[in-house]
Symmetry: C2
Subunit: 284 residues, 2 copies
């Protein structure tokens, strides 16, 4: 049973409607939104990454899932693997900072030891009157994105090359769009966060909605090269589908539209652009 088969088998266990078929950013149970993300040393972070930033990112990626469902943070549970003394202290400092910034209290969790690379898990719980799914886009809807795409990807490249730059902070300390998510949730037909890359995530929204999506590359607000930006991950902006005549309560940019059909197409000022070989970060 490889990863694809494992995920298919696990999806068969997710029979409860609250699971949303594992096809959404979070589970939705009444007015509660629940999400759990894990990070592993050597895979999602490196032993010499600043521990404060590891804590920040662990919380921020989960908070971004809450943001995508228009939820207000209620609390979180932490699964922590102990490390060296100084590392633990710096992790706690970073955790204190990110939880205070987003008013998410720590409610519980577990602490373990491991002989080898360490793993952390965080479960974030939020509350939303109405949590938009990613499968509700309608033909004719416009596709919008908040903020700028590609900054985190530039930051990652700077780190890999051993260079410095302000984009490193965008990669290490993403800012979940909680206020924007709450303001948008009542208006949107579908919403998700951009975690793996704009193109792959937009295609996921279109696939889930049973529609085709077309993106105008010239319209996407990017840092750096547009074709690099739209396949880079970790930006944690919000991507959403709304009627073309919607009045939006937060700054955002119209970058495409949904129509009958299937798949993703890319244009630049009206001219078709070939899709890049990879649309974003594929897990595994």
């Amino acid at each position: 049973m490889n990863e694809t088969e494992f995920l298919a088998a696990i999806r068969c266990l997710a029979t409860d409607p609250a699971a949303r078929g594992f096809a959404d950013d979070a589970a939705v149970l009444g007015d509660l939104v629940l999400t759990h993300d894990m990070i592993v040393e050597g895979v999602h972070f490196l032993p010499d990454d600043p521990p404060e930033d590891v804590a920040w990112k662990l919380a921020a990626v989960n908070l971004s899932d809450l943001a995508a469902k228009g939820a207000e943070p209620v609390g979180c549970l932490l699964g922590y693997t102990l490390g060296a003394a100084a590392w633990n202290a710096r992790f706690v400092a970073g955790l204190r900072e990110v939880l205070a910034r987003h008013a998410m209290p720590l409610l519980g969790g577990d602490t373990v030891r491991a002989n080898g690379p360490r793993s952390f898990g965080l479960t974030a719980i939020g509350r939303a009157a109405r949590a938009p799914s990613r499968d509700g886009a309608r033909a004719g809807d416009a596709l919008y994105v908040t903020g700028t795409i590609g900054r985190a990807g530039i930051g990652l490249q700077l780190l890999k090359d051993g260079n410095a730059g302000p984009e490193i902070d965008a990669y290490r300390r993403p800012q979940p769009r909680l206020a924007e998510g709450r303001a948008l949730a009542p208006l949107v037909h579908a919403m998700m966060d951009v975690s793996d890359g704009l193109l792959i995530d937009a295609k996921r929204m279109a696939d889930a909605s049973g529609l085709a999506v077309s993106i105008d590359l010239a319209a996407v607000p990017v840092s750096g090269d547009p074709l690099d930006a739209v396949v880079a991950g970790d930006d944690y902006e919000l991507l959403f589908a709304v009627p073309t005549d919607a009045t939006l309560p937060v700054p955002s940019t119209r970058i495409g539209h949904f129509e009958e059909g299937l798949g993703l197409s890319l244009t630049k000022a009206g001219i078709a652009v070939p899709l890049p070989p990879s649309l974003g970060w594929l897990h595994g």
Copy 2:
């Protein structure tokens, strides 16, 4: 920052009343009960343990925390580290079985890869009209326990010695006392599950309640040697404090009482018994 210092620092972040100061089996948020436990390969399970049993135990230890708060399972989120193909398939089979047995739907989670020992986390969510804490015992209360103590400890010893026996199942497939917990929750002053050992857990309840507790070794329903049984962990029975005249809705045994003072004392048919050097499993 060693483990003790880490836990103290983390406790400082748990300012929300729902966290119960990290001194309870679970967080309690309105009528919701939330718990998260992690298990690590080589620490909490061995690479050659049956994967079905690893899944069972991961879910059961979390379900036992819900049971101790009188909660009905609502759902869970799984953090899974991929392993070999056959291992994954057998884990899913065990997970399916334990979740079906206890009517706990899988709602979401995350799947990762790791280069080294694998970790799993499970967040269980339950609902309880009233979730008893472990700090509510009153002077004069009787201390009760469900079931038999020591079976899981015998099972672990059989495994270590390479022997067989029915107690191995008690160790590998603990049965969370969900129905008993729900029936007891409205009556008890304090309740918790016996995960680390009867003596250490009873002392924790007494410490949290600001009382002394005395246990009559002759009264404890045990498998095997009584002094081994009361310091063995992993039984996942329920331990609770109730008024001496309470009528109990489930089979259970009166094993001691709370009084003014501090600490744990042990007697056998009225004669003081010295405490064993270790009261149970101490984390780290």
